[in-house]
């Protein structure tokens, strides 16, 4: 939001200035109104001051926009055509304003429906603009690319950023090769995001950090606000650990103190010297990142080449272009393959950084934009319907005016003026709606939506709203206006003031408008229905474990207990103390687990019936009790047991998916698995098969296995505690225990059921459901309003006919049915068209759906019944009015 201004709204002042004569006259008038505004502001508050200002500005603009402000007097001789035109416009606008005020109900309906349509469009366009259209907030952002390792066996020949699964991160060593060997980067560097524990004044705090090389800062090209970012010296082995603060962290922890440079932060037990602060708005790779740290010597010197934890970002030499650069990088990949034969299959892929950040969200957003555009279209048809009614009402007036010599263009212009005024009011309403509604709307957005922090509600919004409003207004106005002005004079005058069947052709057009409204509303309703069903399916997924009663505590093993002996003792002590809590049934632990952050997936060799296969697999190092605690069934063989100690034969339990891969027909028991990382080349024997587990609701790992933690000591982060009561009860005591066991940690605790419910997929689909549901409700409401309008109008037109029918003995029931039938016919036709549209457009949304086809018949039938019922209600009111006509009154009215 813009800061409070002392003056009137800038847009209003600008509009006023435009409508006034140029030079000192206009500017002095603007000044006068400004002065009056200033006086109002102190006495009446801003809202009232603005309203009064707008009223005055309108009065001035209407009076002064033409010569003398009124239509040229016939006696005064001819003025120039343009002057006459300008005068006529002012006149038309004033007349239009008066006519609109005389029918407040109709006007309000039009303004509200336009306002809703324009508001929704403006808001969503702001979002799409910020996320998809605007360049990233870096200088020459189009030159920035993400660099990835590509394994053609996994990705196929043409990986895309939408399917990130095919693109691999790399270790420090490989990143260094790329940066040093590439001839096409003007700057390049690597980064890796991580969670870290920072010792703050109030105790250990969990903070999102990104490890960065100096090249990354150089490539992004953003200068620090204070101090420096990383320099090539920081990349050297032996360089002192350095930290750069985000603006947010700097303000939160140090209160924006400019003397922060040189202070030492304790991050995960290591001291990092603060060397700089980045400016506000610098959020790389995401807005969650609070600190940037230099890479540790351990990572800089680690020779491992087949791990992956680092992403690489580079700035391309502008002359080359993406394709040229890609060809050069293909050469680099070939040369690396010659040095390291095991990487000969690996490629290097360059992708525009923006595509990577937006990664696949584009289609969804554009889909929503389409839905919102449909709502506006419906609003426009509503407006057209209303104008058509008005035009029909005024046929006689138009006929008289034409008979008196008014030109057809002149009459059209007058009706256009009415429409422009309506749509400007609608635009104003829409803009107000977008401004007020934007904040709550943004708070609904899934947090992981990229670039959300860059969304700004600005005055550009107003421009969009009014452009949309004018477009909508002109599109809808031309047809009715032309039709009304085109009616032959004698027809109208010959009607003797009666509206016989004169409105029939107008009502045919109106009928067509209503049919299209119903069709569009049906598309949106069906779409919303699909996403609701999809979300239900998503929540009904069997995750492969039982989450009831489970609490997860995540924290690191304290540094002084990481030696092999101490580590085993730590595990034993933790397990025993957790078991001693009342109500605890089972205790397990795993280094990684479902719905609890990321996981690593190393290259793994597995024996299969067709020989050894290498691939990326998930594995978890677990306590033997893990499967029992999580309720993951063992479907074959045995579970891990305490006997699988360090000295025993190395064993694993594999998931059903991996078991099927190893032995499609028989049993994998006795086959072996090997993790291909440095320092681990043990073949481990399969002793059991566990049920598949989903890691996120819409993602099942392609093959997973479990290793007993004692046979592969390392970190263990997640403690799983199952109790027989409410898991919330355990949160406090488990947290206290975690802090006691590792005073330097900031433990994260959560209830597993909550973690599943609030997981990314559910949140994203909930967002879609809310948004699309709201739009569909809006569309249905507008369509129903349209149906009501046209039927009410038809009844009014046919009052006389129906009066005669009833005088001749027609039953009321039949009259009622005749009107209802018309409403249902329109609805039926509309729904029919809508069904066709959904069947055709279905493919577009399929990617966003989970577990149901886009042509789900249940959803289609449901949407049709719902919309049909709404139309029936809308038709009933005018039908009842028709049926309750008193024939005597009607005929006497003649």
């Amino acid at each position: 939001m813009s800061p409070r201004r002392a003056g009137p709204p800038a847009w209003a002042e600008a509009l006023l200035l435009l409508s006034l004569p140029r030079g000192p006259v206009g500017r002095s008038i603007v000044g006068d109104l400004h002065e009056e505004f200033t006086a109002d502001l102190s006495g009446r508050g801003r809202t009232r001051a603005v309203l009064r200002y707008l009223r005055r500005a309108l009065s001035v603009a209407l009076h002064l926009s033409g010569p003398g402000g009124r239509a040229p007097h016939p006696g005064k001789g001819r003025q120039s055509r343009t002057r006459q035109g300008v005068g006529a416009l002012g006149h038309d606008l004033r007349l239009a304003a008066r006519l609109l005020l005389r029918r407040p109900g109709l006007t309000l309906t039009a303004v509200v429906s336009l306002g809703l349509g324009i508001g929704a469009n403006t808001g969503l366009f702001t979002l799409v603009n910020a996320i998809l259209l605007r360049p990233l907030p870096y200088p020459e952002a189009a030159e920035l690319v993400g660099v990835f390792r590509i394994d053609p066996e996994v990705t196929g020949p043409t990986p895309t950023p939408e399917r990130l699964s095919g693109l691999f991160a790399v270790p420090y060593e490989v990143h260094r090769d790329w940066v040093e060997m590439s001839p096409v980067f003007t700057a390049a560097g690597g980064y890796a995001t991580d969670g870290a524990t920072v010792l703050e004044e109030s105790g250990p705090a969990s903070v999102r950090v990104a490890l960065m090389t100096s090249g990354t800062f150089r490539a992004l090209g953003v200068a620090p606000e204070l101090g420096r970012s990383f320099l090539p010296e920081d990349d050297q082995v032996g360089a002192p650990p350095a930290a750069v603060l985000s603006d947010g962290y700097w303000r939160r922890r140090f209160g924006g103190d400019r003397g922060v440079l040189g202070k030492v932060l304790e991050v995960d037990g290591l001291g990092y010297t603060v060397v700089g602060v980045m400016p506000q708005g610098f959020a790389f790779p995401g807005s969650a990142t609070q600190l940037w740290l230099s890479f540790s010597d351990e990572l800089k010197t680690n020779p491992v080449r087949n791990a992956g934890y680092m992403q690489v970002v580079a700035r391309l030499a502008p002359a080359l272009g993406l394709e040229g650069a890609q060809r050069e990088m293909d050469q680099v990949a070939r040369r690396i393959g010659e040095i390291h034969p095991e990487e000969v299959e690996h490629g290097i892929g360059l992708f525009p950084l923006k595509d990577l950040i937006v990664a696949g969200r584009g289609a969804g957003l554009l889909g929503l934009m389409g839905a919102v555009a449909l709502v506006l279209l419906i609003a426009c048809t509503n407006l057209a319907g209303i104008l058509l009614v008005r035009a029909t009402e005024r046929r006689r007036e138009m006929g008289v005016r034409r008979a008196l010599g008014a030109g057809r263009g002149r009459l059209v212009a007058q009706q256009l003026a009415e429409c422009i005024l309506l749509s400007l009011l609608g635009g104003l309403a829409g803009w107000a709606l977008a401004r007020v509604g934007m904040e709550p709307f943004l708070s609904l957005m899934p947090r992981e939506l990229p670039r959300l922090g860059e969304v700004r509600v600005d005055s550009g919004l107003l421009l969009v709203a009014f452009a949309l409003a004018l477009l909508a207004g002109l599109l809808t106005a031309l047809l009715p206006a032309w039709k009304a002005a085109a009616t032959p004079i004698n027809t109208v005058l010959g009607e003797g003031g009666r509206n016989l069947s004169g409105g029939r052709s107008a009502s045919r057009i109106q009928g067509a408008l209503v049919v299209s409204q119903v069709a569009l509303a049906f598309v949106l309703l069906a779409g919303a229905g699909l996403f609701v069903r999809s979300m239900v399916e998503l929540l009904a997924v069997d995750p492969g474990f039982r989450s009831e009663g489970i609490v997860i505590a995540s924290f690191d093993v304290p540094p002084d207990r990481r030696s092999t002996a101490e580590f085993a003792a730590f595990l034993e002590e933790m397990e025993a103390r957790l078991r001693s809590f009342p109500g605890v049934l089972e205790v397990g632990a795993a280094n990684q687990m479902p719905f609890s952050g990321g996981w690593s997936a190393p290259p793994v060799s597995v024996e299969t019936v067709e020989g050894v296969r290498e691939g990326i697999r998930h594995f978890a190092a677990v306590l033997p009790t893990y499967h029992a605690t999580m309720g993951i069934p063992i479907v074959e063989g045995r579970s891990l047991s305490p006997q699988d100690g360090p000295a025993a034969e190395p064993v694993v339990v594999v998931s059903e998916t991996l078991a099927r891969l190893m032995a499609p027909e028989g049993s994998p028991l006795g086959m072996r698995v090997r993790i291909e990382t440095v320092g681990d080349s043990l073949w481990r024997t399969v002793v059991g098969v566990a049920g598949d587990v989903v890691y996120r609701l819409n993602y099942v790992p392609q093959g997973m296995f479990y290793v007993p933690i004692t046979q592969r000591p390392g970190s263990i982060r997640n403690w799983v505690v199952r109790s027989d009561g409410d898991p919330e009860r355990l949160l406090a005591p488990v947290r206290r225990l975690a802090v006691e066991m590792n005073p330097g940690a900031a433990p994260e605790l959560r209830v597993l059921e909550d973690a599943v419910r609030s997981s990314e997929a559910v949140v994203a689909s909930r967002f879609t459901v809310i948004l699309l549901g709201g739009l569909a409700a809006l569309a249905a409401f507008l369509a129903v309003l349209g149906v009501y309008g046209v039927l009410a109008y038809l009844v009014q037109l046919r009052t006389r006919e129906m009066g005669i029918r009833m005088a001749m003995g027609a039953e009321r029931g039949r009259v009622l049915w005749r009107v209802l039938r018309q409403g249902l016919a329109l609805a039926g036709l509309g729904i029919g068209v809508g069904v066709v549209l959904v069947l055709v457009l279905g493919q577009v949304v399929q990617a966003g759906l989970f577990g149901i086809p886009a042509r789900d018949p249940l959803t289609l039938v449901g949407a049709a019944l719902g919309l049909g019922a709404a139309v029936l209600v809308a038709s009933y009111l005018p039908a009842r009015r028709a049926a309750s006509l008193d024939p005597v009154v009607v005929l006497r009215g003649e």
């Binding site: 003056g7 008038i29 603007v30 006068d32 400004h34 002065e35 402000g69």
Partner: protein, 111 residues
């Protein structure tokens, strides 16, 4: 320009400008008319009238630099020209002649 009677509103505007002397700009004119005549005036009408009076040479204006409370926009100070004074006097004397001998008329009569 052919001699012409001033309208009521034109007369009121001219008189307000005259009363305000050095400080006669639109906002002050509005205030003056509100206070003296109890007449709340539409901004549009006032500005139109001022333009018309200017076009007939009955008022003249000069521009003064803007102040912060005016958002920096200039201020137009009006004054009644000699022709304006003449028109005011003409109108007044016409009215006075027409009123001559009728001062008490109608005041005591029952409705």
């Amino acid at each position: 320009m052919a001699p012409r009677f001033l309208g009521d509103f034109e007369q009121m505007v001219l008189l307000a400008v005259l009363r305000l002397g050095e400080e006669a700009y639109a906002v002050a004119v509005l205030r003056e008319m509100d206070i003296r005549a109890g007449h709340s005036v539409s901004r549009g009408t006032l500005y139109k009238t001022l333009e018309r009076l200017h076009a007939r040479g009955l008022v003249a204006w000069a521009v003064e630099e803007g102040t912060p409370e005016r958002g920096g926009h200039p201020r137009r100070l009006f004054r009644v020209t000699a022709a304006g004074m003449r028109a005011l006097h003409d109108s007044r004397s016409v009215f006075l002649r027409m009123w001559e001998g009728l001062e008490g008329a109608g005041e005591g009569s029952p409705r």
